[in-house]
């Protein structure tokens, strides 16, 4: 395997990344992978590794990286929102081109909330964005937030026997306080971004070819189940086929 872990820099911060290269010869195309949020990312991690390896076998260079506030990258989770994640993805695309100078652009592949980041990064990349692949995008940031808050309330109830209301949690977030979700502190930046997020609007604004795959073609590998998912065979196959056609 041709895989190189490294840190790249964005301002004063360092982000952890792994570059997957084709085993031999220069890469014909490039993909930047934008992961899902928090624990969804951890449960999906091995799927990302597998798809990156499959794409590398197709002659495509893939840059996987941790957004700031997650994994091994700098900053705390509560300090980061969609804007910082988009800046991370744009910088990751530059880094990919630095490592693979023959590439004129790249495709952004997002998963769950990472789809929104990937879409915003394509918008910020202009002509260098060669495509957007979205794996089970979060359709409404507000609905997603409400689901998250429901899980906060359930865990508070289990822990203390009593829980605040969802309205009280929203008030706290409105007041600039943080709310703890499975150990992650959600702060104002992400909260405000989620409230305004609509996938359909991002999709309408896209100026490059788009492949959007809904989550029903795979078991929900981004959350805990009885199986450990290390591949998403259907999504990967669709993605590879689409990339072959688009980038031919």
């Amino acid at each position: 395997m041709n895989e190189t872990p490294f840190f790249f820099e964005l301002g004063e911060h360092r982000l952890f990344a792994i570059l997957h290269r084709p085993k031999s010869g220069p890469a014909r195309h490039g993909v930047v992978l934008c992961h899902a949020l928090a624990e969804e990312k951890l449960w999906s991690h091995r799927v990302y590794v597998s798809v990156a390896r499959e794409l590398a076998r197709e002659g495509i260079a893939v840059l996987r990286f941790d957004f700031r506030g997650e994994g091994d990258s700098d900053l705390e989770f509560e300090d980061c929102g969609l804007a910082s994640r988009t800046a991370d993805a744009l910088r990751a695309a530059e880094v990919l081109r630095e490592h693979e100078p023959l590439l004129s652009g790249c495709v952004f592949l997002g998963h769950r909330l990472g789809c929104a980041v990937a879409a915003m990064a394509t918008a910020g990349s202009g002509a260098r964005a060669q495509g957007l692949v979205a794996w089970d995008p979060v359709a409404s940031g507000r609905d997603y937030l409400m689901q998250i808050l429901r899980s906060v309330l359930a865990s508070e109830l289990a822990r203390t026997g009593q829980a605040r209301t969802r309205a009280a949690l929203l008030e706290s977030l409105d007041a600039g306080e943080t709310v703890v979700i499975d150990g992650y502190r959600m702060g104002s930046p992400l909260y405000r971004d989620l409230i305004g997020l609509e996938w359909s609007r991002l999709l309408e604004a896209a100026r490059c070819p788009v492949l959007a795959l809904n989550g029903t073609c795979e078991p929900p590998f981004w959350r805990e189940s009885k199986r450990f998912h290390n591949r998403a065979p259907t999504m990967s196959a669709h993605t590879i086929q689409w990339l072959r056609e688009q980038l031919a």
Partner: protein
Amino acid sequence: MSQRIVSLRNREGHALHCILEEPPGGLSRAQVAAVLLCPGVKTRVGPHRLYRKVSPPFLARGIPVLRVDFRGLGDSEGDWPDDSLAQMYRLMELGHCVDDARAALDWLESQLGIRNCIVGGLCGAAITALHLARDDSRLAALYAIGLPSRLNGSAEPHRVSRGELQSHRMRYLRKLARPASWMRFLFLRSDYRLLWRSLAAKWLKAGPALAPDVNPHLPTSFLALLRSGRPALLLFGEQDGARWDFEEKFLQPWADALEPYRAQIAYSVISRANHILGDPAAIAEANRLTEAWLDAQLTRSIGRSERGLRSAGIHSGAVECSRGRELTVGQESIEARPGG
């Protein structure tokens, strides 16, 4: 924070990608390292980046922290023979990843000259470290959060501990006043088996002392660690089922065997915390306990070193701790808290 990537290879040739966090003074004076292993199937950073949050007590004392991805997990190479989560946990509990942990210690010894390591982490990491303790003297101390006592995927049915049943009973009693809970009950959405067992447990007799679903390697590995004079810090969340398992299926039945080594065991239950220490207050308490434990261990080793007995290192301090039969900071009695 100063981090660098360490890519090492296990015996089978898989590249294991790890992160080394360096203490503020650098690595040159480090004689002890902390090695935090992959917790279950989560990556080297742990759930909610737990391992980043529990590193400061080590770093502040000049101890570098190596976070290790096991084979087939995180970014590392390799695969697992099974994709059932229960079977993967079972394999880990039986020591599937011990060689990967050993590869991390080999790297620390060959590249940094560090032979004394505090090894462990959360859940599967802690049990892997215990397996390693049996035959690797470079493991100088065990650092365990939510150490699992039970063997997953066992043919024996999971016997819920009495403490856990009591905890469920209290939860059900609190729900009596909640209409939503009654709706769940009436619409057949409750776990009636657990409800019945938790309510009946108060009147049922205790089961046999040694639970059939306990990991058979736990007593032998734990006693091997203690008999060689090495200390253990054991942290559990108050609401972690693993805590009741550990107390009722190991500490209580094995109390006589453990008694001579009581001074080496620092055992603490963190109030209102869950298995992954998902609350910032739980992390703060875990770090406070770790600081006190490290200071006690390091002070003893430095004392020995100054007297010219041995080189400094947490291991030598642990030997003295055992001989002196002192209580370790943060410790609760090992016969403590009856489960029911």
